[in-house]
């Protein structure tokens, strides 16, 4: 179980305090698919990075399986079973796809297992294992490899930041299947209806705050009504 208690994150910009996240509290139970959605700039990626330890919150606590992990490093959180897929996959000079998978998988893992994870994201291992992880790979290819590295970690909690970006429709359906089949807890940041639809819980972020938590139907209905309100000159 992951528990976020009153997470806030603010930065000073031109001498003015800017709230990027304000009092986020949330409980995520094991084996759930939780989708975090919301407009660009609402704070989704920041929240994901705070859970992974890439960003330290200004205040608040993070409890993972009963343990306060607020002050643990990225490495320590990774070792406790949190995996993270970046919105923008990182490229390297001199590291190959195989090198990343070898970091993740136990020493004696054979190539066959590397292949499994690449195949899951629709990539043929034969063509990709020896490819350098650089900008010669397309955005979609890098994104799939990024997802494969998360799956390969077989973590308790997976965080995916906009996994669908750059992925074509055919593979997108496979991606949805992957999230449904996962034994792990998944936190998925997404705008896609198909991904929202498979969520156990949807969290709607709006301007640094949680606007609504509910089932996909509840949240979609909420979004539609507030849009309606906005059109009618409402205050949402």
């Amino acid at each position: 179980m992951l528990e976020l208690q009153n997470i806030s994150y603010s930065v000073r910009e031109n001498g003015v305090e800017k709230n990027i996240l304000k009092n986020i509290s949330l409980i995520i139970n094991d084996h759930q698919n939780v989708v975090i959605t919301g407009q660009n700039g609402s704070g989704k990626s920041t929240l994901a990075k705070i859970i992974m330890g890439i960003i330290q919150p200004t205040s608040g606590k993070i409890i993972f399986n009963g343990e306060d992990i607020t002050h643990l490093s990225v490495t320590e959180r990774a070792r406790k079973g949190i995996a993270f897929g970046f919105q923008q996959p990182v490229t390297f000079k001199g590291l190959k796809v195989r090198d990343l998978l070898e970091i993740i998988l136990p020493q004696n893992t054979n190539c066959h297992e590397c292949c499994t994870y690449l195949a899951k994201v629709g990539l043929c291992a034969k063509d990709y294992l020896e490819r350098p992880l650089d900008n010669k790979l397309s955005g979609g290819e890098l994104k799939r490899i990024e997802i494969a590295t998360v799956l390969a970690r077989q973590a308790k909690l997976n965080i995916f930041d906009e996994p669908e970006a750059g992925i074509d429709l055919w593979s997108f359906d496979n991606l949805v299947d992957i999230f449904q089949q996962q034994q792990a807890t998944n936190i998925i940041i997404s705008h896609q209806h198909k991904i929202i639809a498979i969520a156990d819980t949807v969290v709607l972020l709006n301007s640094a705050k949680i606007d609504k938590v509910g089932t996909p139907d509840e949240v979609i209905k909420f979004i539609n009504t507030t849009k309606q309100c906005a059109k009618l000159g409402g205050t949402h």
């Binding site: 992974m52 990774a78 070792r79 390297f92 000079k93 590291l95 090198d99 990343l100 970091i103």
Partner: protein
Amino acid sequence: MDEITKELLAQTSNLHEIPQGAYNIRKNGQLLARNTTAAIQIVSKTDQDGIDIIIAPNTQNQSVHIPVVITKGGLNDLVYNNFYIGENCDVLIVAGCGIHNDSDQSSTHNGIHTFHIGKNAKVKYVEKHLGLGNNAGAKNLNPTTQIFMEENSSFTMETIQLGGVNYADRKTNATLKAHATLIINEKILTTDQQKALTNFTVELVGDDSKVEVTSRSVAKNQSFQAFNSNIIGKAQCFGHVECDGIISDQAVINSTPQISAQDVNAMLVHEAAIGKISADQMIKLMTLGLTQEQAEAHIISGFLS
């Protein structure tokens, strides 16, 4: 052969036993062992210290190892090696150089290599440098490489200096005739107070000649590296220089890539980027469970691989 010599040969030339084919092993300024083959002659020079390596035309899939080992301090070794590679050859030349100096006096190896590469010949040249030993005696390596490339020849040069060398002054000059291709991959790691200087001058004189220089440098502690390259295009030609450096601590890397296009059809490009290890790369590897130190080691060994 003593253990130190064996280790230096293994690490710099990947030699774990006496190699197949032609070789010339030089130890502490003297000939230790030599083998020639029907196609590959090795002849000592009479006017200066060094050897002529003559490879007969059409020699295919053969190798020449010319390792140099120095196992003591206070030596200043200067050697001239000339390679004459016949037309249509396809050969591997390995010229590792290792100094194990446990004394307080410095030892230096200056290797002046000249390559004459015949028409349509293909050469891969590997030059790996290493310094070992814990005392104050410096380990210095100053290679000079001159490459004359005939039409349609190709030369791939791998230069690797992965530590322990106090001072290196590396000079490489090449002239390329029509359709000749030169590929240079350089990898240099410096630590502590080490200094490494690199100078490339490549003249592209023939149409459709091509050079690609890729330099990757890692400088740690208070070490210093300077990379200078000068690509001169005098014909319809292509030249590309890419110099990437990672620095940490108080290290300094200077990069001065110069290109000079002297023909309207010359196409020359240089790229250079120096900086500390990317934070994003570190974080990505840490999300896979590596510590900061492990992540750094992975990034650097990949970068220099």
